[in-house]
Structure formats: C-alpha cells, structure tokens
C-alpha cells in the first residue's frame, strides 16, 4: 500500500502534485524556548512558515546518528526532564496543523514496547515514525506494530546501499523515503555533498514515493540545489541551532520561511 490515504505521504503528495518541493524541518521535542513560548509554540511557528510536515525528535541519551548540534539539544531536553510519555502526551494535545513524524532511537521504543509505542503515536495524532538505528533487517517487529496502528514508517536509504538494497528499502518505506545525503551524521556542511543528488536520482528511478534528502542540508541554496533531483528536504541541525541560539519561535519561523522561499523559487 503506497498511500493516497495516509496522512504524511498524502500531505507530501499534495505538494509534489502541484509541482512544489517538500520541506520537513526537525525540532528536538522538549527543547526549552524563551517563556512564554515553548517547543510547541515553535512547532506551530514552523508549520506556519511553510513546512509540509515536521519531524519531532524524542531525545535519547546515545543518539549515534546525530552530530554535535542535535546531541546538545537532546542533552538539554533530557536535562529539562522530558520523557517519551510526557512528550507524546503534549503532542496529542496540540494542533500544529501539519502532519508530524517522530524521530527517535530503537531503545526508547523497545522499552516502551513496539506495539504500545505505535498505538500511543496513533492516539497522539502522530502520522509517522523514523527510527535511524532500525534498518530493514531489524524492522519487522516495529513495522508490523506500526502498520497495524496506522503509523507510517519512514525508511532511511544511504549512499552505501546497492540498487538491490535501495529497492527493498523504498518498498518498505511509508510516508516518504529519507535519502541520507552524505556519509556522516546529522549536521550542516559548508557545501552540498555530491552524494546528495546522486542518491536522490538513484531513488527516484526506483520509486514514486516522495524522496526527501536529509543530513547535510544547511542552507536554502543547498536545499534548492538538491531539489533539482529530490522531491524535498529534511532540515534538522540548522533549525535546532537557531532554536538554541535564539530560543525564539519567530526566528525559527524566519529561517524556515527562507527555505520555503528558496524551494518555491525553484
């Protein structure tokens, strides 16, 4: 089932159907902002600035796929006392206006229980999940729970994968295919890695599902460039860095707006 009816993929599909490019910013859940604003205010500001969906990080003590910026944000949010239950509870009470995808690591889900976590996401109105340390071979317990609960599982596809492997990954992917833009962990880079457009092209040949490139997309120019081959981008560290530096939902919205404008200008 490649989903017309599924929330995240449908939202991204609407954008691409009209010839647009998808923008999915990431924010670490529970990251302290300047009161009275909090991270939910920032989520709404991101949605209002032209995001098609938002990735919400559920912070983990050992985020092995993340670079320094998101590591620091995770430590800070954990220090502020956030846990998966309270975070999902707050997401459930919020109406951000765009589909949400939770990004977290295997152990938090395993500890919660694969099935209970999937059902809690569904109850909280979260459309999708991204688990960067659960590759295809380990994905069965999670994917069956997520499928049953109606949660879309975004799969990561990396430049190191063979065409055969990429094919298997895109078949299992729901929502969108997360193309890892470079060999490395999350973080901004001064230039767009040449691998970014290559992996996007390889994946586009294999699937009709939206292909979004993430990891290493730090500027509006880089986003526009990679979208010559991709259906959109995920931007994480740039957003989180701004949120930490300013603690201001408006500043984050301004940044997201710049990415939106760059993608719309084509």
């Amino acid at each position: 089932m490649s989903g017309e009816g599924t929330t995240l993929q449908a939202a991204l599909g609407r954008r691409t159907a009209s010839g647009g490019k998808c923008l999915v910013p990431y924010l670490t859940g529970g990251l302290p902002q300047a009161p009275p604003a909090d991270w939910l205010t920032t989520l709404s500001a991101i949605a209002g600035a032209g995001a098609d969906a938002i990735e919400v990080g559920v912070p983990f003590s050992d985020p092995v796929m993340d670079g320094p910026v998101i590591q620091q944000a995770s430590e800070e949010a954990l220090g502020a006392g956030v846990n998966p239950h309270s975070l999902l509870d707050r997401l459930g009470s919020a109406d951000v206006g765009v589909p949400l995808a939770v990004m977290t690591y295997a152990n938090l889900v395993f500890r919660f229980g694969w099935q209970r976590f999937a059902e809690t996401l569904a109850d909280s109105g979260v459309a999708a999940a991204i688990l960067p340390d659960v590759p295809l071979e380990e994905s069965a317990p999670w994917c069956s729970a997520a499928d049953a609960a109606g949660v879309e599982t975004v799969m990561l596809a990396a430049p190191t994968g063979s065409d055969e492997r990429l094919q298997a990954v895109v078949e299992r992917a729901r929502g969108f295919v997360y193309a890892v833009g470079l060999l490395g962990v999350t973080g901004e880079r001064s230039e767009l890695a040449s691998t970014s457009r290559v992996i996007a092209r390889r994946l586009r040949r294999l699937t009709d599902k939206p292909v979004l490139v993430g990891v290493g997309i730090g500027s509006p120019d880089q986003a526009r460039e990679v979208c010559q081959d991709a259906d959109g981008v995920v931007i994480g560290s740039a957003v989180v860095r701004t949120a930490m530096a300013t603690r201001s939902p408006e500043a984050v919205a301004d940044l997201v707006g710049e990415f939106r404008a760059a993608l719309d200008a084509g």
């Binding site: 590591q71 998966p84 152990n107 500890r111 340390d133 071979e137 990396a158 430049p159 190191t160």
Partner: protein
C-alpha cells in the same frame, strides 16, 4: 559457544541495530571474516604474529602462596604477559590483518582504560595504517599514561566529550566517525559487543586464549579441568575468550564478574544500544544510565550479547564485586604472588577471595586479562600512605 544465528543473534540477543549507512559495511565485514577465518593463509599469518610478535602462548601460573591463604587452588591465565599488556592484542592483530585484507587504510577504535586503544595503535604501527582512537575525557584524565602511549605509537587520541565522557560515549563517537569514513576505514571494535558480526568475530579472535588454557590445564591438572573459570566482564571479551575453551564441558562452572557500578547482567534489563540487543543499565524510559567503576575498562552500562545469552540459559553466572573488594584483591595478588594485576582483572580475583568458602578445595582458573602498570598512578593516589 558456536556461531550466532543468521540474524546475528545468540538466543534472543545481538542483532544489527545501526544506521542504514553501516549495514552494507557490516555485511561486507561479515563476509570477509567468514572467508578469512576459513583461509589457512590468514590463520597461519595470524598465528605466526601471535607467537613472534605478541608472545603467545601466555603461561599458566599456579599461585602457591595465595592458594594456601585462600584454601583454593588458584591458577592464572597470564594474558598480562602479552605484548601491550593485556588480552586485547589477540583481537586487534586479527582485525588489523582483516582490515588490510579488505583494503582499508585506517583503523578507528574506542577505548576505556586505554588497553584496547594501545593495542590498536600498536597494530596500526605494525601494519602502517592510520589510527584514530576515541576516549572519554574522564578516562583520558585517569589513564594519562595510555594516552601518551597511543600518541607515541602514532595514533591520534580523540576526546569524547558528550554524555558521561567515558567508554559508552567513546563508542558513540567511534561509530559516528565510522558512519562518515566507512569507505576507507575499519572500525576496530574492542570487545564482544556492538552489531553483528563483532560479538562473534571478536570472541573468535580471543578463542586462542581459551584453547591454550584448556590444553595447559590438561597438562597440569590430574582431572584435566578446573572446577571454575572466572573472568571480569565489561563488554566481556576476555571472559568470552576463556569461556570458549571450557563451555563445552558442563562440569566446569563459568563466572563472569561485573563491577557493582556497571552490572549490566546483574542489574540491567534487555535494551538496544551500540548496535546490539543485550542486557543494559537504563532508566524506566530506556535512557542509558552511566556506569561507575574504579576501573575505566569496565565502566560500561552494557554487555556483549553472548553473555546475556549465557546468563539467560544459566550456563554462566554474573555476580558483581565492589570497588573496595577490587582494591583489596589488587594489593593481595601483588603481595602474595608478585603480580600486579590490572584493576579490571582484579575484579575476577576479588570474587574468588570473597567466595573462598564456597570454593574451598576447588581448582579455580582466573583469566588475568591485563597487567596493572597502567593503574599504578591511580592506586598511588588512592592507597598512598596506607601501604
């Protein structure tokens, strides 16, 4: 102790929980190891290096004075006498040969006490490979000597400054490095942990010490086998090595000794970190908790998946000892036998000393996994005038 299943699991433990970028590299590594391990040219080159470079076989030493004091016949497998001062060299020579065979030009490693880091830096020097070793900032401070040794050997020591700034965080940083450098680098993981095939491959590279010990016991002991085999467990590589020589003999008890402040099997529950599903110290939400031990090499909240399996099936037991008991054992072996053990290895001795009544008249083989030179500075600060 055989092969893991096709899904890289020992019973229900193990697996390959890593970022997608690394999956093809781990598949390639597994294939290369399987091929090399069946290739007589590879194994004979490794055996030759273990002999002429690392100093194998390591002796089996009977502890006459301490045995008498304890009422236990105590034997030590002397991995402390290997080149670089611990069992770690066995695994590192194997992996460095494999890395060369795979055409990799650089080794990345993590280290706790610095023993694996020093061994990796040594192998890198021997083979002319580049070498970067990640080490927690806390550990760099308490193991300054090993930091210098690694630098002297030509390696770069990269401080791990996140989280608890110890071994757990050094593993995270080494994995992050490997995600970025996987095309030309080999991750030389230092214990029987991490994603498949590491727990299996590293145990196979340490099997040599178990095989030697088993054969040395047959020569020395009337019954041919010890009653109990004891080793310390952080990730669990020296324990896996010595257990592998005796696991097929059900009459031999296997004991893995954890530090009280890092008892993954004793106090943990199953969890997923560093690529494996295994026992793990964590909070109610699955956040990994920080281990706290006098020995940097055992300061690890997880444990190799095969140990989780051995614990669950009851084949081995995993008690823990306190830092005070460890210090007592450290002094005791120094004074009765003239052997200064690594603080890690002193955990195994501490258990024997504490359980001497239960072990009365038994023959107990302890894997003395490393020597204590690296710990002398730390112990001087701790014991100082008390001696």
């Amino acid at each position: 102790m055989g092969k893991p299943g096709p899904d890289g699991r020992f019973g229900g433990f193990g697996g390959r929980f890593v970022p997608e970028t690394l999956v093809p590299a781990l598949q390639e590594l597994e294939a290369a190891f399987v091929e090399a391990w069946a290739d007589p040219a590879f194994t004979s080159e490794l055996d030759s290096l273990l002999g002429s470079y690392a100093g194998r076989p390591s002796p089996l030493t009977e502890c006459h004075r301490l045995s008498e004091e304890l009422g236990v016949r105590l034997l030590l497998k002397r991995e402390d006498l290997n080149h670089t001062g611990s069992h770690k060299i066995n695994n590192v020579l194997g992996q460095a040969l494999l890395a060369r065979r795979m055409g990799k030009s650089r080794l990345v490693a993590e280290t706790g006490a610095g023993q694996h880091g020093v061994a990796t830096a040594t192998a890198a020097a021997l083979f002319g490979l580049e070498c970067d070793v990640y080490m927690g900032e806390v550990d760099m401070a308490r193991q300054e000597l090993n930091v210098f040794r690694m630098r002297l050997l030509g390696a770069r020591v990269m401080p791990a400054s996140s989280g608890s700034r110890t071994l757990k965080d050094a593993v995270n940083d080494a994995m992050r490095d490997w995600v970025a450098t996987v095309e030309d680098s080999h991750y030389c993981l230092g214990s029987v942990m991490g994603p498949h095939p590491y727990p299996w491959m590293v145990r196979e590279f340490h099997r040599v010490l178990g095989r030697e010990a088993e054969s040395q016991c047959r020569d020395l002991l009337e019954g041919g086998l010890p009653d109990t085999v004891v080793a310390c467990v952080g990730g669990g590589s020296n324990a896996a090595g010595i257990f592998s020589g005796f696991a097929e003999h059900p009459e031999v008890d296997l004991v893995g000794v954890e530090p009280a402040g890092g008892a993954a099997v004793g106090h943990g529950v199953p969890g997923i970190v560093h690529g494996m599903l295994s026992y793990l110290m964590q909070d109610e939400w699955g956040q990994v908790t920080e281990a706290e031990s006098i020995s940097a090499g055992l300061d690890y909240p997880g444990v190799g998946p095969e140990h989780s399996h051995l614990a669950e099936t009851g084949r081995a037991e995993y008690p823990s000892v306190t830092d005070d008991e460890v210090v007592e054992a450290f002094v005791s072996l120094s004074r009765t036998e003239g052997i200064i053990p690594a603080l890690e290895s002193a955990h195994a001795l501490a258990w024997v000393i504490r359980e001497r009544e239960r072990l009365e008249s038994c023959t107990v083989l302890v894997n003395l996994s490393g020597r204590g030179d690296k710990d002398v500075d730390q112990m001087m600060g701790l014991l100082g005038d008390r001696l």
